[in-house]
Symmetry: C2
Subunit: 401 residues, 2 copies
């Protein structure tokens, strides 16, 4: 339901917008540059700037002397003024990061995931690991805005919990958000991993070129995060982004849905590994290493590994083209825990398959970008959920709460 | 690029929002009801209401006496205070409608489409038909806000023209928007037909239940209009909504893209007609009548027609589920020029196929709705593009222009 707008809502929005612009600029921006970009009056801009400097998030740079008159002082971000914690729950590894206001990772830890419900509640582990991360980083608690948690879907966005993601039995219906909030004293946000990854990409996108974009997540499973008008698409229940059942290889391997050649089974890590001759029935914890080995073989000229990458590139391209035909985004960002192990062999093949697609209806080509979040993109994205909620200027924020 | 906000932008937005709420209410709303829903103060609301009454778009209803004190007077829409023209260019028929502020069709005409470039420029025809529609309806020109044109993609949104839609050769690269604007003296907007249809559905959606929605368009071709946060998804170039190459029937008929079983060929009207035994190689102008005949046969128990509808329902359901898995909309609206001819036979089959889908990942079911725009949905949608541009309250309107 749309709400009205009033002056306090406008004040908050303008302050967030100016912070957003300063944050995304490499060398800071002067008050007059900011007034021009935002359309705000010099007086309004000056008030907003003063309030931002008061919060400590923005600092005055050294005056830039050029010509006569009072030299302009650029306003710059103070990245260490605020922090957020990101946690990625994954079947293979739990990742914890501490991220500053610029989106830079300042602490990073990995832990084996909780083994399952028969070993007791997973929540005390999670809370103590988050608390330890903050203690070791030596960051003042009042500078930490909150904790974001990214997990495979389906999630219950209203309750802030996971429903029944098949590979994470320990977390089914555990009241994640509320309990973690209580145990850490920090606000907690729970999102699907692919949505978090898209939010992370938008946060660090200095050029703001990702207005319409598809984030393709390649991990133990596949999924996508979508952006429309630079806003992440969550869907009605927070579970947007499922592409596992797009048919990309008719006659291909059987899927548990009853069809053949669904994307999820066609490009599954264990299938790539098996078809390249590196082992059948491998476990999630081994996949990253085995995919790395497969990449080395393909780059060294191994025909079998090369053929599997060729087929995988075709399948991924078909799914990306289908989604791009629907959304007319023309930008696909790719990342995720398994992607970094295969990108050197797969990315050139994928770019070729996209460029030669006969199904693409876009009037321009599809631009393929690697993720800018090199650590665990979903963990960094999870931290960015917190930063984004507090400090991304979206027009929706202009409405009376 | 986001812009700042200021008091004039807020004033315009609040006025549009209040008009929006009044328009969508069946019996009008009192000032106090409007203040509660918008969050605006009584004073602001009173000023906004006065300005709306001054424009003639809103009128004071009769006081509702209930209890003591001054009885509240509901504010109601004056539907005849503003109008818009909608034009749908289609391979089979060109449709012209005049729509009032409530989205009601007050005039409706159909013409054979322009035969092609060898018969001269199609623009003079279009302009004189639009002018004649207005003259015959006897509507004052100063009450007509503009003309919306809906056409099959791909469109050039920046130039307001069609690129090269295969079935509309007369219109390739014709400067549609600018020339029609000049010939009629009215502002003109050009959009893809499926986007226009989605805009029309959003305009007449009194309950505002279509926040996230997929409009499935079944005409000479298929396509979809998407809504995210009650805002139509246009894509980067205005060409969002292409689903013709989703594989829904592996091993099915060959598509010009080189694959088999793409949605566009799997559910094409000419295929249904041929497989039901009603004629091969039929022309677009015959399809509506033949599909109507096919529906009668299926309803009378004809097994051949029934089996074709069964297969078609499966194919449509797979495409809808794939899109809904991606967008988590949980609402699909279906319409378009051919749909009304087959809906009685196809809709129950489709609802069943959606309910039993093994590929659906939504945590809730998919709700299937028929279009509320019973005439040509793309033509009404085209008119609604104009109304929507002027009078839908979206937070983006809060930014400094």
């Amino acid at each position: 339901m749309r709400r009205g707008s009033n002056l306090p809502a406008v004040g908050t929005y303008n302050q967030t917008l100016v912070l957003d612009l300063i944050r995304r600029s490499a060398d800071g921006l002067s008050r007059s540059e900011l007034a021009e970009r935002t359309g705000l009056s010099a007086q309004t801009l000056s008030n907003v700037a003063r309030r931002l400097v008061d919060t400590g998030m923005v600092v005055e740079g050294a005056p830039v002397v050029a010509g006569k008159g009072k030299p302009p002082t650029p306003l710059r971000l103070n990245p260490q003024s605020r922090f957020a914690v990101g946690i990625h729950l994954d079947p293979a590894v739990d990742t914890f990061v501490l991220v500053d206001l610029a989106g830079t990772v300042v602490a990073h830890e990995e832990h084996a995931p909780h083994p399952g419900p028969e070993h007791g509640m997973p929540l005390p582990d999670l809370a103590s690991r988050a608390n330890e991360l903050l203690d070791r980083a030596g960051v003042r608690r009042d500078r930490v805005l909150g904790i974001g948690v990214a997990a495979p879907g389906p999630i219950d966005a209203e309750r802030g919990s996971l429903l029944e993601p098949p590979m994470l039995p320990a977390w089914h219906h555990v009241p994640l958000r509320d309990s973690l909030q209580q145990a850490t004293g920090l606000p907690v946000t729970v999102e699907k991993d692919v949505v978090a990854a898209m939010v992370g990409e938008l946060w660090v996108d200095a050029s703001q070129g990702l207005g319409e974009a598809i984030f393709f997540y390649y991990g133990a499973g596949v999924g996508v995060g979508l952006a429309v008008d630079a806003t992440p698409v969550r869907g009605r229940t927070g579970n947007a982004g499922d592409v596992a059942h797009l048919v990309v290889e008719p006659g291909g391997p059987a899927c548990r849905c009853g069809n053949r050649g669904c994307l999820g089974v066609a490009v599954a890590p264990e299938r790539l590994i098996e078809d390249a001759g590196l082992g059948a029935g491998t476990a999630p914890a081994e996949w990253r290493a085995l995919l790395g080995e497969m990449t080395e073989r393909a780059l060294a000229g191994d025909a079998r590994a090369g053929a599997v990458f060729d087929r995988t590139a075709e399948s991924l391209a078909r799914a990306m083209v289908a989604m791009n035909n629907l959304l007319d985004a023309d930008v696909v960002v790719i990342g995720g825990p398994m992607w970094s192990r295969i990108s050197r062999a797969l990315e050139p093949r994928l770019a070729r398959a996209l460029a030669t697609s006969t199904e693409s209806t876009t009037t321009r080509g599809i631009e393929l970008l690697g993720t800018r979040l090199h650590t665990d993109v979903a963990a960094v994205g999870a931290a960015c959920l917190v930063l984004d909620g507090a400090f991304t200027a979206r027009p929706a924020g202009l409405m009376i709460g």
